[in-house]
Symmetry: C2
DNA sequence: TCATTATTAGACCGAACACTCTAATTTCGT
DNA sequence: ACGAAATTAGAGTGTTCGGTCTAATAATGA
């Protein structure tokens, strides 16, 4: 009786996912063929479809992976002392991610696909809810320590910070002069003025 | 000798463009077939391709049309007395546009396509440059009248306002709880705190 | 070793794609 | 009314798509 080796199986899936991410970032979900993913991953279609039954499940797996990554980032953030500084730190990592065109492309692609495909839309909404929840918790903590303005609604502000994050990824696509690395100062100014306790 | 009637010609093009916009918003540029556009416009492929030689030219025409629309909005805005109020008014119309899912879909689709297709990327960058230029001019005017903080760099702030605009359209895709109509107050708060003269 | 199951390759499939072609019809200056 | 140009229809083109199938090979427990 042979059994599946879960480690090898997972490694193969990751290989396919990485290949797919590279292709999708270059050409979009509907612009890349499964054959291209096969070529990038160095395997035959028979092999690829052994690990993912349809192209859609590959896309869904990528969106799901995205969620785990942001959750991971927040896990490290919650323990900070100055929670407003933690927020600014998080936004710095967002700018760093935006510096990677693959990541920006993928973020935009997912948002666009969310409007077309309800299944992806649901996944993306779940990711976003998690992000907003984490941001709101951070803001509530900061407010209770008087690190930010207590009169601002945390959930509402979290929503707009999420909008700014989305906006950063769109910038990369549409504004060739936008260099994420150079924008940290202005972003901090914006957030500080928006959130700091009003004198 | 018969000549082309430019009015009829333009009307036919607009009919096709409107049909294409409806399809693209539903299924994306690469997800809709030319046959679908034909069906939506109620014409044969022979007819459609008489007016647009390729699918790509249809997409490009739509992006170009987008530019003219934003230019038109700004034309009405420049004459205002209170330029910061004019900016807030512009952002209200953005929220209004974001309430139309067709418009939001299209905006996201264009951004995503800009990362993939260099020709669309160039067009989108031109649109964005025009938007940022108009915003920066507005901000400079407001600064010179002390309606906003004079120490903030106009071009830099314009870039981040553009990011927020992009973010609004992404919100619609990814956050089912985001109702553009209800977000005016928080957006005004954000912009006011960011830009108003610091005491 | 051997039976069994996991894994792999790649030829292959029907459907759908963007677009072309030919021919018919409409339009309008004369 | 006539003829040339503009417009239209829709069947047809070669290609590419996502995905299947068959069969060969590799790995493992007994």
């Amino acid at each position: 009786m042979r059994k599946v080796d879960p480690e090898k199986h997972a490694a193969k899936r990751r290989l396919i996912l990485d290949a797919a991410i590279a292709c999708f970032a270059r050409k979009g979900f509907h612009g890349t063929s499964t054959a291209e993913i096969c070529a990038e991953a160095g395997m035959s279609p028979g092999n690829l479809f052994h690990y993912f039954p349809t192209k859609h499940t590959i896309i869904a797996a990528i969106v799901e992976e995205e969620r785990q990554e942001t959750a991971e980032i927040f896990r490290k953030l919650g323990e900070a002392e100055d929670l407003f500084a933690a927020l600014l730190g998080f936004m710095d990592t967002v700018l760093e991610l935006a510096g990677d065109p693959t990541y920006s492309s993928l973020a935009l692609e997912i948002a666009a696909e969310a409007m077309r495909d309800e299944r992806i839309g649901t996944l993306a909404a779940a990711n976003d809810a998690e992000l907003q929840g984490a941001l709101a918790a951070l803001l509530r903590g900061a407010a209770s320590r008087n690190q930010i303005d207590r009169t601002v609604d945390a959930a509402g502000a979290a929503r707009w910070i999420a909008a700014i994050i989305d906006g950063i990824f769109s910038r990369v696509a549409v504004d060739p002069g936008f260099k994420p690395k150079d924008e940290g100062a202005m972003l901090r100014l914006l957030l500080t003025r928006f959130l700091r306790p009003q004198g």
